[in-house]
Symmetry: C2
């Protein structure tokens, strides 16, 4: 495993770190976050295990665990190249359309829970109940509207 560290300009390093911070805020580990950042910033969008390790300067286990996590949570994908044994990893951030569709079913679940809450509430807390009903209604509205919004966006594209 020779030194396959990728060269990054100062600006690129900063970007990897800033993207990393953004992902960390959503609860990801530092290493996983930086992998995602690096996969967006690096010139080649497909990087190998050892390129990631050498560039980020962390242990193999950290990379291995993070890659598995990112694959399980559908943030990256594995690419194999013909005639090559080693695998390449690519960010799936750019396949965001599917993600959005999945989040719709999560939303439905939460909405259902809120409906149950509303149903068992006493009738005397009028304003509260109305606000809750509004929230539920809005979430359902959004779920219905999303497909149309998508169409609108697509047709608007140059």
């Amino acid at each position: 495993m020779e030194d396959s560290k990728i060269h990054l300009s100062e600006e690129q390093k900063t970007l990897v770190e800033r993207l990393g911070m953004t992902y960390e805020r959503s609860g990801m580990t530092q290493v996983a976050s930086r992998i995602l950042g690096l996969l967006l910033v690096s010139e080649d969008p497909d990087l190998t295990f050892d390129q990631l390790q050498a560039t980020l300067g962390v242990s193999k286990s950290a990379i291995s665990n993070s890659l598995n996590f990112l694959i399980n949570t559908n943030k990256i994908e594995e690419i194999s190249r013909l005639g090559e044994r080693k695998r390449y990893f690519r960010s799936k951030v750019l396949q965001w359309k599917e993600e959005i569709k999945k989040s719709s079913s999560q939303m439905t679940q939460f909405t259902d829970l809120l409906k149950t809450v509303l149903k068992q509430r006493p009738g005397n807390t009028l304003e509260f109940n109305q606000n809750l009903a509004e929230l539920i209604d809005f979430m359902e509205f959004m779920r219905e509207e999303m497909p149309m919004l998508f169409k609108k966006w697509e047709s608007r594209k140059k």
Copy 2:
């Protein structure tokens, strides 16, 4: 501090716990999550420090820390009642409209970061760059559309 435990039906207890699980999944602590759940389920939407403590059956410090956390992250608000010293706490989940507006500015920030990434990318990764540009475009589109969506929703309401 007499026993100010709130009585909850079995269904209500289950709901507090299920709401709690939902919040925990988003990274909140157990106590903070259950406070949020309880504030949605309890008959009175405004609860005091000791009602929370007695009902959830945890230590004062746990309540104190969680309440501070929830206030800092804007999930609950403090209410004072005239002539009363003790404070009441209320969930802000139902003030979701403001939250949505704030999330729009967060989105702008992330979009800006992605724009910076795109700008410094080499020109030879065409598909990648196009996908990234699309993502940026869609996020900006969403931000623009939100106000209109809101209007549409409001006018549709019975």
